[in-house]
């Protein structure tokens, strides 16, 4: 039951709907790419799944229950939303320490995780001095802290260098191969084309596609071209 379910989800801000009657299921064992143009509602959807925002109607569940009902949620769900939203005064290790403690997670994982995300040397440095890519890596370490079976990553490739992007691809694939549920939003179509197994495409808060990537990409076209066509088609 390691799944993310979004059921008839709507979130209005004033008159306009950021998410509009959206339903999909993210299943384990594969990487699900979450695509859509700027303002399509990807971040809003993820925030609602994480209980950070309340839907106007509909609901979202993780492992069959609302996020807020999870006990020690970080041991079930790892999330990376806005990697730059950290307090600069703490060092990377200390940031992970409070986070681990908040969910009763052993701090012995911290050293290894910092090594894994390539911050082994920077663990004792203040986060305020980190580059965007380093913050992104720290955010990923935070998401993996509780060894969660479900991962929600909002544009985790932002700011990563080519080596970092390649590394992230390998990491996500191995996490999915371990049977985890991985939802990743991104605007990098070439990267998604080689990373994702499944795609959920939304535009203006509505579901445009929910399919295996091999079925989505039209013959003789790239993912990028297909994506553009689907978005244009939905706009008219």
């Amino acid at each position: 039951m390691d799944m993310i379910e979004v059921i008839g989800l709507t979130r209005r801000f004033g008159q306009s709907a950021a998410v509009d009657d959206l339903s999909f299921t993210v299943t384990p064992g594969k990487i699900t790419g979450f695509l859509g143009p700027n303002g399509a509602g990807k971040t809003t959807t993820m925030r609602i799944v994480l209980g950070l925002d309340r839907p106007t109607s509909g609901r979202a569940t993780v492992n069959g229950v609302p996020y807020r009902a999870l006990d020690r949620p970080l041991t079930h769900v790892g999330a990376l939303l806005d990697a730059s939203a950290v307090q600069g005064g703490r060092c990377a290790e200390q940031h992970l320490q409070w986070l681990a403690r908040s969910n009763g997670i052993s701090r012995t994982r911290i050293g290894g995780l910092l090594e894994l995300v390539g911050l082994g040397e920077a663990g004792r440095k203040r986060v305020g001095g980190f580059s965007l890519g380093m913050k992104q890596r720290l955010g990923l370490a935070a998401a993996l802290l509780g060894d969660p079976e479900v991962l929600l990553l909002d544009e985790p490739l932002n700011g990563l260098d080519p080596e970092g992007i390649r590394w992230m691809r390998g990491l996500l694939k191995s996490l999915a191969a371990e049977g985890r549920t991985v939802l990743v939003s991104s605007h990098l179509m070439h990267e998604m084309a080689v990373t994702a197994d499944h795609l959920i495409v939304i535009g203006r808060g509505r579901l445009l596609a929910d399919t295996e990537i091999t079925q989505f990409v039209r013959p003789g076209m790239s993912l990028e071209d297909t994506f553009m066509k689907v978005i244009e088609g939905s706009a008219s």
């Binding site: 949620p73 939203a85 950290v86 307090q87 600069g88 005064g89 908040s102 969910n103």
Partner: protein, 247 residues
Amino acid sequence: MNAVAAEWIKLRTLRSTWWALGVGVLTALALTALGASTVISRWEPGQTGEQAAMGIVVAVYVGVVLAQLPLGMLGTMSISGEYTSGMIHTTFVATPSRSRVLLAKACVLGGIAIAASLLIAIPGYLYGHVVASGFDPTLPPAGAWAVIGGGTLMIAMTTMLGLSLGAIFRNGVVAISVLVVLMVLVPFAGRMLPGGEVVNRILPGYPALQLTEQMPDIMPDEAAFAVLGAWSVIPLLIAVLANKRVS
């Protein structure tokens, strides 16, 4: 418990915490030492040992109350800093119950406020004892407990109020301004206005000054404690409600 431990790690890993505590405790200690020496030097030779002990306690708790503003600001920063940086979202993902987060912060800050008050009061008391040794001070008399309780509650209350205002306004500058207005300006203005007596009774300042024997009694001590207690708890409840609002 996890949430309380996490909040303690958050607070102790920020340098600003130690600055606020250092500034608060050290200035209060310096002023306590100065104030105690001055007050004691003016005592009549006829003071009994018990009066001397009481006098030392009173002098010391003036110092404790002086540390309240840095602690109130610490309370504010402990949450407004998270809103400003956006880290509050990580906090709420880790601990989805927002009231639990706020109460955990309140526990940690309450503990810090009491520890800070002891860090000022104990050395201050020992120092006062040395300066007043000519009067052979006894152990503090029973009446000293209202002073100790009132002073401690005052500093804890200001810390809680700072936290609550930070959670309500989510902006450090606004919250600290409101804190200063409530703690300093309104009591000051209240004293000048007709009906200031009533205003004094319901603001936190006068009850604390009454309990620490700095101002004449205008209400029973129980009422003064109740007012201080209410100022610690009610804003926190408002903050809990305000935090249910999604951001």
